[in-house]
Structure formats: structure tokens, C-alpha cells
Subunit: 230 residues, 4 copies
């Protein structure tokens, strides 16, 4: 079942430590088949040395396991909510990567200071609020997804244009049309979070990137008039 997608998800999970986004098993990648509305996700807490593509778990958009011997990542219900609400995304990555987690812990949106950011995220990356006591007791991981969706709706941000979010006190979730690109977007967010922190330290009066350059760089790589790549 979904053998090709399992392999892509497995490979993308292995890419997380290679790209220094995680230590041990502190992260998870999933990807969805939009025809069947089933998604494939990493099992919970399995060593990467012994994990195989066949260990990937298949779930539906209600957060139920459809196939797999192992427990899925404990964050699985968050992924399900995101796939349900953000209808164009094909893959989700969650990590505790150092610099994105620092911004999450500081509870701040990531502002746009440069073209490295603008090439991938069309505006600031928002930081979603802490969950309430009630939300935690209800279904923590499911409600985490709902708070992310609320953040994008309330602020009127398009998740296709800003493919990532920080959870206050926790860490980032990042997405894209497929697993390889979702990991790449997580790498971009991590690098941007590092650079922006030190940009502010070097010059507290650093200017945000002017909109005219944000637009130009985002449009070089995205949409009808893009001309980056082959």
C-alpha cells in the first residue's frame, strides 16, 4: 500500500539528521496521497539504524491508523489536521532544529530580513500561541493542528506562500508539495532563523527587506513568471 510514498517518506526522514535538523529521532516527516486521502508517516521513537521503508505507518485524515504494525509518530494527529485544512500541501516536516526552536521558545514571528527568506517564504513566518489547559486535555496533538490552522486563518496568511509555522514554546512545522521540498523548506527556515537572530544582534535597527525586493525574489522562484532553475 502506497509503497512509493513510503519510500519517499522514509528517505526524507533519513535526510533530517544528514541536514543536521535533528538529533536521534526528534523529528518526523509525512506525505499524503491526495487521491485516497491517506498519508504515510514515520513510526514513533524507532532508531534510524533499524528503521525501514516498510515501517512507515499509513493513516487517514481523521488520524486513524489504516496500515502498519508500529505506532505512528505521536505528532500524527497534528499532521492529519494540517492535511485536512491546507488542501494543496503534499508533505509535512516537524523538527526541533536549533535556531527555529529558539525563535519558537522566544515566541516571536520570524521577520523578513533578506532574500534567502524571500526566495521561499512570502512574508514573516508566524509563531502560533500556546495551547490552553482545555485544549491540552482534549487532544493535545489534534488541537496543536487546530491552533496552526487558526493562526493562518486569523492572520489571513496563505499556507502555500508561507509554508511553515513556529509553535510557541515548542518548535517548527514546515510543509511543501512533496517530501523532498518540505525538508528543503525546513533547512531554509532553520538557516533564516539563525541569520535573523544575529542580524538583529549586529544591528537592532536592521530594516525589514523592502516589499519590492520580497516580491521580486519570491516571484523569481514561484508562479507563472518564475525564471529560476531549468
Amino acid at each position: 500500500m502506497l509503497e512509493k510514498l513510503k519510500k519517499e517518506v522514509f528517505e526524507a526522514n533519513l535526510e533530517l539528521p544528514r541536514r543536521e535538523l535533528i538529533k536521534y529521532t526528534w523529528g518526523n516527516v509525512s506525505a499524503i496521497d491526495r487521491e485516497s486521502n491517506l498519508f504515510v508517516i514515520k513510526p514513533s521513537g524507532v532508531d534510524y539504524d533499524v528503521m525501514t521503508a516498510d515501517d512507515m505507518v499509513v493513516c487517514n485524515l481523521d488520524g486513524e491508523v489504516i496500515e502498519g504494525e508500529l505506532n505512528p509518530s505521536s505528532d500524527m494527529p497534528t499532521h492529519a489536521v494540517l492535511y485536512k485544512s491546507f488542501k494543496d500541501i503534499g508533505s509535512i516536516v516537524h523538527t526541533h532544529s536549533t535556531w527555529a526552536t529558539i525563535w519558537s521558545q522566544a515566541g516571536l514571528d520570524v521577520p523578513v530580513y533578506g532574500t534567502t527568506h524571500a526566495d521561499t517564504f512570502f512574508g514573516p513566518v508566524p509563531c502560533a500561541r500556546h495551547l490552553t489547559e482545555e485544549e491540552i486535555n482534549k487532544n493535545y496533538e489534534h488541537e496543536t493542528g487546530s491552533v496552526i490552522v487558526e493562526t493562518f486563518e486569523e492572520r489571513n496568511i496563505n499556507p502555500n506562500e508561507v509554508p511553515g509555522v513556529l509553535l510557541h514554546g515548542h518548535a517548527p512545522f514546515v510543509w511543501a508539495e512533496n517530501a523532498e521540498k518540505a525538508v528543503m523548506n525546513a533547512v531554509v527556515l532553520e538557516e533564516v532563523c539563525k541569520m535573523n537572530l544575529f542580524t538583529l544582534q549586529l544591528n537592532q535597527e536592521s530594516e525589514h527587506l523592502p516589499n519590492r525586493i520580497l516580491n521580486k525574489h519570491y516571484e523569481r522562484k514561484h508562479g507563472e513568471n518564475s525564471y529560476y532553475g531549468q
Copy 2:
């Protein structure tokens, strides 16, 4: 004698440079056999290139060498005191890992700013006081252990729930039920120390993680109702 434990301790010591927790031989791991109350520890200042599992030294809880040709780590008496007082722990790691040592040098407890911390340490990681002249002259390494125990007793911290400590002006000691997990806890402390320093730099008003989220994350991974992993 204790061949299996020697091998585990040897392997855990080799893991320290791999996880970038130490340079050269600046660290030591031990593990205890609770039936015989004997523990196995790395020898002092031996190059990792030539060290073998058979070089591990066996000691008792009074800090006496029971078996081994080589001198044990000079920090061995600290390990003995911790095993005697913290009766549930199975392994101890001491390193001068960069970021945990920075917090030690600054003489500050590590506050809880995020779930990376809460997944492993159920509250702030305390910083123990400097030793007095008298304590240094008596038996420096033994008294170091006593000051750690004093810290946990006076502040009423459960060493099973907060498995690590910083020594003011020195570096961290970390523990767990076995050597592999003790190294993993040392990796977590190191990463948390790095992230928390920059969290504070990015936002001096950063909020501590709300208790409701600290509780939720610690309980996801520990105790009867944990549901992380397989």
C-alpha cells in the same frame, strides 16, 4: 567481572566524542550493577584510540578500586557518592560540553523555555554551589558529589525527574537508568543549554514554558500514561 557492563560503559564513552560532547578525553561515563553495588568507570586520561572495554575499572560505593590495572577517572569518587544517594540511577555521564559548561560558568540554573527540555527534564536543571576551601582540602571529588546531593535535597528536586546538574565554575553531571540513556540525556542538556541562551538573547522577556505544557510533555514520555515510542 561485569563484562557486559564494561562493554556498555566503553561504548558509551566512545559515543561522547561522536556526539560532540567532548574533545580528547575530557569526559567519563560509568554504570552500576545494583545487585553487587559495584560500578564500572573509564580509566583516567587514556586515549580513545587505544582504550578497550577491558581497560574499564570496577569500583565500590566507598570509592575503592575493586578490579582494574589502570587508575579510574579522577572524578570517580563523585560517581560513587551519586550512586549511593540516588538509588534508582544506573549510569552517570560527566562532560565539559560547550553550552552546558557555559551555563555552569555563569552559575545559573537552566530554566524551562520549551518542550525539548520538558521531554526529558521535569523542571529547571539546578546549578550547584562552589565548594568551600575546607571541602576542597578534604576530598575534592567526594565532596563534589555531596554538594550535588545537597542541592537536590535542599531544593526538594527528585533526581529521577531532573536527571542532571551543573557545577558552578565547572561543568555538568547527567544520569539515567542506563549508559545509553545517560549519554542521550547529556545530549539533550547540551542542546537545551544552547537554545535557552539564545532564546534569552532574542527575547529577554521570553516566558517560561507554562506548567500545563511542561506536565503534558513530560508525561507523554514518562510514567504510566506515556504514549511516546513503541
Copy 3:
């Protein structure tokens, strides 16, 4: 056509990730043949795993493709303008290397605090201004080159003595007489940007390197009386 130069440019591009100046394909190196006034540049967005020396694209100083199946780097017109104006340079490197990008985002010139800087750059590395709306709409990449040239002319800086520039809100361009040295200069700029940021943090009153030492170190390595190397 220009087979030897293609190979040098190809090798120099591969050196960028090895020297940790770029992630993925976020950079480009070119080199010029001054006899034919044609230059060779990396194609746009091609994975380094599959890229070969034959994929390099040949262009002229008007920014037109002369030979090659693939689209050249989208920054190609910037390279063309620089080769046209800076007549002694043989190779150009563009990266988003972390610390040089941080100074670019902060919009600051890189001052001379030490001999590591003085060995390669004979004075501060300037930060060029943002492009205007009009310049962006005209020909963004071509105008980027023009703004660099304007910066060196207005400030009366010799591009042979200060072989690099920061673009405000973007990242560095660095050059040299050949591709290997251009990459080396990019490494120097990256290291200097890191060191200078923390020099300022450690001591806000840090003195600029006295001119007598700047002169001495630059002259040890450059010009008629240099005596570094073989």
C-alpha cells in the same frame, strides 16, 4: 569551447558546499577568458550530484548565452556587469554564506578588526545599497551589478584591493584572479564576518586595526615586496 575553464568553474562550484559556504545549490561561481571576453558560469538550480563540467554555460559580456543547453545561473547578468567594469578580475563567487549574509541583512560595511581581514581585503568590505523599484523592474540582475560598480566608484575603492562586496538585504559577491582564489576569498570574508560580529559583542569599544598593521599585513601577501608563500 573553453573546456579547461569549464572544468575549473565546475570544480570551484563543488568546493562551495565542501567549504560550507552554501546549502543545496544556493551559490554560483563563474570565470572569464579575457582573450575572448567570454565567461563560463554554473547552470541554474541543477543538483550537484548530477551536474558535470559540460553543463557549464558560456556567456558574453552583454549577458547573452553563447554556448550551453541549460539556463545559466539567474545571477548571470550581475557577473557580466562586474567582468565588464572590473577589468582585472578573473572569477566571481556568489553565495548566501551565513555570516556574510548576516552583515548584508544588517546593511553594514565590514570593518577591519584584525590581520585575518588585512591579509586579503585592504580595507572595509562595503555594503551596497538596496535597488530602487525602477532598477528592479528594468533588469534586476543587471542593475545589481551596476549598483556594485557604483559603490566602488563613489567610495573610490579599488576592486583589486578589496575583492568583495555585500548587497544590502541579500548576500556577498566575491572575486579574484581565478576561481580557486575567488572561493578562498569567499571563505576569508565568511570567517571575518563571523569573527567581527563577536568581536563587537565582546567589546563594543574594539579598536579598528591600526593602519600601520593593515598596511604591513596586506603587503606581506600582495604586491612587489610580498614575502608570504614560496
Copy 4:
């Protein structure tokens, strides 16, 4: 001539990039034979890929080349002065390692904040003054050595107990009884410089390590009553 020493110096030079103390060829190690008062040093600016032990250059304490086809490191006269004045040292290392260079650029002594420092350096590591115009014009590298010696004499520091120095606006020189230990001391200084910078950032009121602990840790590893190692 001095084949064994050449091999040790060659190996120690290769260790510099492995320990991430240098990039390219930005460093040099020498070692002295105290019987003949000749020392062996790395040639200037030779790629590590092609350099062999036979390329090492033999010099005397007046800074004259005694044997060798290649030019010695341009810093050679500094080494000669140090060997002449500091009669117990056997090897010298010069690097532009990142964090020690940052303290050099900031023009500050490295204070003692922890036992990592105290295990190797018995007190603060001094920062030597800039050279005067006259000193630079006379013989820059020779006078650099003289300023280091002046620093230790004026402040009454024993170079055997504090085996390193920072040059204001430049970088560190470090030494020991042999080449392997000199490189190790350079690693310690680099790590201490990193940790102390962030210790100060984390807590501007950080206390210097009390003398009683400085003494204890230095004596654990040095002198008659040391008990570290085998």
C-alpha cells in the same frame, strides 16, 4: 637532520585542520631540539595535500634557515624569539582559530571562568599590545616575539604555567613541551575563548573562578602532586 622532529612537526601541522583550528594553510607548528638549539617549522603557504615531512625547514635561534629547500613560515622569527626566551618550551603553535582570534581582535585578556581553563592555564591568558610603527618597520615578526616576551616579563607571568598569549588585532600563539601537547593547548584555548565569551553574554556578573578551585584543578594535572592520568 632531525628526521624524527620533522615528522612530529609535520603531523602536528596536519592536526590543525582536523581539530578545526585553521582553514587552508593559516597556521604553523614548530618544535625545537634543545641539544642543538635548532628548530623545525612548516614551510610558508604550501598546500597540506602535497606537503611532506621532508618539506619542514630547520632554523636556528637567530632566525636563520639551516636546512630546507622551501621558505619557512613567515612567522618563523617570532618562533625563534620565543624559543630563545622561554627556555623550557619545546613546541609552538600559531593559528587564527575563530574564538581566540575574536578575543585578540577585542584586545582583551581571557579571564578564568571555569575548570576547563584551570586544567591547562594557571591564570588569565594575556593579550599583548599592538606593535609600534618603529617595531613594524624594523623586523615585524621578530618584534612580535619581543612584545610577547615583554608581556610575560612585565606582568610577571610564568610561560610554563600560562602556555599561550593573544596578539592584539591578530591571533594566538600557544606552546607546550612537545608538538602534540602544544596543539592540545591550542584546542583548550580555543574552546575556553568560546565558552568565556558566551558566559559573559549569559551573565555579565559571572564570577571569576575562585582561586582555591583554580589552584586545585591546576595541581590535579600539573606538578609533583598531580593525580590525573596514568
